[in-house]
């Protein structure tokens, strides 16, 4: 059996695991991520509201409050370094309960959130002309951002890889044994030895904890469903608009995305770890959003999806295991987990005894090729250099063959169709890949030199096409 030794291993390539991976590689450690799926960012990190919250609605004196506010402050610099778009649109909270608004203002103050202001009824309706008349009071927080959560996480992971980190995809842990030299993690083919493990497996936390025989938590899952609206609707709201929060969460919000779509959702239903959407859930969102904003046209839906929150009590759990020395438990990272991720990483690294020093390895990733951001002259220069930049593959988002090839030939080579979608948006538009899925599958097959019928959508059993005789070849 192949045996590799690492300074630390992170289990789970969501935004939390990848943030730790990135910080440790830049600090000069030899680390690896173990991920059961074929790409980074296939869990909760790909299915959320994509908001970097200001941090006013977390209960004061919790990890959530502290890490959200800290994480929020770290995002601009990280995104600038990675070349990832972060838009500071600010966020509104609206409703008709003055008391509740005051309460949020107070919490914001307690949590150290700057740039909040209360809005009168008239100010509110002036700023948000499409608000329903029932919305009479609210607040605005300027330090709220929108981000593409999966693209951010991919870039963060790529930077980790070029700084020496390794990611094991499709790695299904069979056993973790504690030995004198550290933990031996095995999938039956490849063993990894490490003194330190970060359990950042998200919804899979307890599965990993069972293998480790570390602490199990009572994890409750709450599913959140969404509508994604067409680019045609991009101007219906210019900032994120929340209703006043309830016990179940932040409520059904409407927000622009960095790519010019609109998200409407989420629901909050207790469920098992599944990302199904339901007719009831979608109907629930439709009713709720209508009460808040009156011009959201759900008839312009191009996609529905759902993500799962993993909740442990009221707060995040980030602590060293009492049962397994060198293991850091990271559980219950529900919202605002994305916003907090950079700060969660620093805290977890601190608890592990490793030293955060990002001056050791400073390689930077090359920016993604993006023709939509270029002038005509730049485009023509590029097409003259390589004709592939003149051949559009995804008609809805205008993505060329050259851009897709470039996205494959990166520090982490995507081998799934959804992987391409998350990197360059081919298939993310209004036809949802009806036009380009087969072309994308062919490009993946060619660039990675794998048979066409072994190309999968997302999961290893999710083949896209069979050969005429009805067989698919496993990767």
């Amino acid at each position: 059996m192949n045996r590799i030794s690492k300074d630390a291993v992170i289990i789970g390539a969501g935004v939390v695991g990848v943030s730790i991976f990135n910080d440790l590689t830049r600090s000069g450690y030899d680390v690896a991520i173990i991920e059961k799926e074929l790409d980074v960012s296939t869990g909760t990190t790909k299915a959320n509201s994509g908001l970097i919250h200001a941090g006013f609605d977390c209960k004061p004196n919790t990890l959530k409050a502290k890490l959200n506010v800290e994480g929020n402050a770290m995002y601009p610099e990280i995104c600038a370094r990675l070349g990832v778009e972060l838009k500071r649109l600010g966020a509104y909270v609206v409703g008709n309960d003055e008391e509740a608004v005051n309460n949020l203002m107070e919490k914001g103050k307690a949590n150290g959130v700057k740039g909040m202001k209360k809005l009168s009824n008239s100010a509110l309706h002036k700023l948000l002309p499409n608000l329903t008349p029932e919305m009479t009071t609210g607040l605005f927080a300027e330090n709220a951002y929108i981000i593409d959560p999966y693209f951010y996480t991919i870039c963060l992971a790529e930077e980790g890889v070029i700084n020496g980190g390794e990611i094991y995809f499709d790695y299904h842990i069979k056993s973790i044994k504690q030995t004198a030299n550290g933990y031996v993690i095995s999938n039956g083919k490849e063993e990894i030895i490490t003194p330190i493990i970060f359990n950042a497996a998200g919804a899979g936390y307890n599965d990993v904890a069972k293998l480790l025989k570390s602490e199990l938590y009572n994890v409750v899952h709450r599913r959140g469903e969404y509508y994604v609206l067409d680019h045609s609707e991009k101007d219906v709201v210019k900032s994120t608009i929340f209703p006043l929060p309830t016990k179940a969460g932040k409520g059904v919000l409407v927000t622009p995305t960095v790519n010019g779509n609109i998200l409407v959702g989420p629901t909050s239903y207790e469920s098992d770890d599944t990302t199904v959407t339901t007719a009831e859930g979608l109907a629930d969102i439709a009713t709720k959003v209508k009460k808040m904003v009156d011009n959201v046209n759900l008839g312009k839906t191009i996609r529905v999806f759902a993500g799962v929150r993993s909740i442990v009590g009221e707060d995040f759990v980030i602590e060293p295991s009492q049962k397994c020395k060198g293991v850091i438990n990271i559980a219950g990272i529900c919202s605002p987990g994305l916003s907090s991720a950079p700060a969660i990483s620093q805290m977890a690294i601190g608890l592990s005894g490793l030293k955060y020093d990002p001056t050791i390895r400073c390689n930077k990733i090359a920016p993604y090729t993006n023709l939509s951001k270029m002038s005509v002259a730049e485009k023509n220069a590029l097409i003259r250099r390589d004709k592939d930049y003149g051949l559009i593959v995804c008609k809805c988002e205008g993505i060329t063959l050259g851009e897709i090839k470039d996205a494959i030939n990166r520090p982490i080579r995507p081998r799934t169709m959804d992987g391409i979608k998350r990197r360059v948006r081919a298939g993310m538009g209004r036809c949802q890949g009806g036009f380009c899925n087969d072309k994308v599958a062919m490009i993946i097959s060619q660039e990675n030199n794998i048979p066409l019928n072994s190309v999968v959508k997302e999961k290893s059993n999710g083949y896209y096409m069979l050969s005429r005789s009805g067989v698919n070849e496993k990767l």
Partner: protein
């Protein structure tokens, strides 16, 4: 920058017919097509049933396309640009992207013949999981007929439009098991001949007023929960059943590719509105084919494309003279009518429309403002799936008009 008299966007049957007529009429014409070939959707329709009306003979889709491609290749004055995307329309000019770079084509007239796209799982709010194994019918058709691959083995088709029916037969012939075709409406929207030839002949069950409630499966489709819906499309939960399958094919409607146009759209056709010269609200911009409204027969597409091509070329020459304009409004069971406005003058207008429900032994009637019938046509029986056509002489047009069905 390049100059043309007439620019045609889309090299399907509509665009090819338009470009042929325009260049025959002496105009310097260009066809811009994003695919590597001309023919549009026909290239993947390898079944027969094309051309009976236009050529008096039955062809497959590629054969029908080939007839036009051959004529086009012989035509002078006609430039073909394939692998070229129109990315923006500005009046009668277009911006294109191709392997030669980004460029602008300037035209005196423009013909929109971009065809349709298919409605998706997201559009119909298909619930449950979102695994691999859900395809639009056109995507599956391309996979089988052009790439020589298969989408799966055990298949459920949602939607009983023609494309769904044809794919049911195609996949069956290719060795897949088509377990059911499900239709949310009480009647199918496909042509009668396709129900018989594609489903009945192969014992494929057609389940009416039935829909998929939930998709099952994690990485790949593993099955569905389905059941009956009532007349208002509400699910009847007590009828829920589970069916094992690995593939779901959606044939749930086509939407004109209007992304590039900035014109008001008709609620029913979801496309631009035109006058009897097939000209849109933007001067010199004409529309035809599936872009204008979804056709069931390619023959009508070619006729409409040809008309658009003639009118566009006349416009480019400055010779398109029009009389007074009046509205033409559909009434009652008629769901939409093309054109939306008509002009008085000379010649004859081809009026195309669809009905919402089956009708029998009736007259199609055109009334003027005072309720006088200015023309009528007897119809024995007609179905919503079949596009209807009548002709109207321009010299009869003297006021705003209404198109109706009068039951006899």
């Amino acid at each position: 920058m390049k100059n043309y008299d007439v620019i045609v966007i889309g090299g399907g049957p509509a665009g090819m017919a338009a470009a042929l007529k325009s260049s025959e009429n002496g105009c310097k014409t260009v066809i811009v097509e994003r695919n590597p070939f001309l023919g549009g959707i026909l290239k993947q329709c390898i079944h027969n049933g094309f051309g009976l009306h236009y050529f008096g003979e039955e062809f497959t889709g590629p054969e029908y396309a080939k007839k036009f491609v051959e004529m086009i290749e012989k035509t002078k004055n006609l430039t073909i640009m394939t692998n070229t995307f129109v990315t923006n329309i500005d009046g009668t000019n277009v911006d294109i992207t191709s392997q030669n770079g980004v460029d602008r084509l300037c035209g005196k007239a423009l013909v929109l013949a971009m065809g349709c796209r298919e409605r998706t799982a997201g559009n119909i709010l298909l619930n449950g999981t979102r695994p691999a194994g859900i395809y639009t019918a056109g995507e599956a058709q391309r996979m089988v007929n052009i790439l020589g691959k298969m989408p799966g083995k055990e298949i459920v088709i949602l939607g009983s439009g023609d494309i769904g029916l044809i794919m049911a037969r195609r996949l069956t012939l290719q060795g897949a098991k088509v377990k059911a075709v499900m239709e949310i409406n009480p009647t199918t929207s496909g042509l009668r001949r396709n129900i018989v030839q594609c489903l009945d002949d192969y014992n494929i069950p057609l389940m009416l007023q039935t829909s998929i409630f939930e998709v099952l499966g994690d990485g790949r489709v593993e099955g569905i929960k389905y059941g009956k819906v009532d007349d208002r499309y509400n699910r009847i939960p007590s009828t829920t059943k589970t069916l094992k399958c690995d593939t779901i094919i959606l044939s749930v409607g086509l939407v004109p590719e209007t992304d590039l146009v900035d014109l008001p759209l008709n609620r029913v056709t979801k496309s631009v509105m035109v006058n009897d010269y097939l000209e849109t609200a933007n001067d010199g911009v004409f529309a035809c084919g599936n872009f204008l409204h979804v056709h069931d027969l390619v023959d009508n597409v070619s006729l409409e494309g040809a008309a658009a091509g003639i009118n566009a070329s006349e416009y480019a020459k400055g010779k398109l003279s029009k009389g007074k304009v009046y509205s033409l409004t559909p009434d009652g069971v008629i769901s939409y009518v093309i054109p939306n406005t008509v002009h008085s003058g000379e010649g004859e207008i081809e009026i195309r429309f669809r009905i919402r429900a089956r009708i029998e032994k009736s007259n199609y009637v055109i009334e003027d403002e005072s309720g006088n019938q200015i023309m009528k046509k007897y119809v024995m029986a007609a179905m919503p799936g079949e596009m209807q056509t009548i002709k109207l002489k321009r010299d009869l047009i003297k006021s705003n008009l209404t198109l109706k069905v009068v039951k006899l």
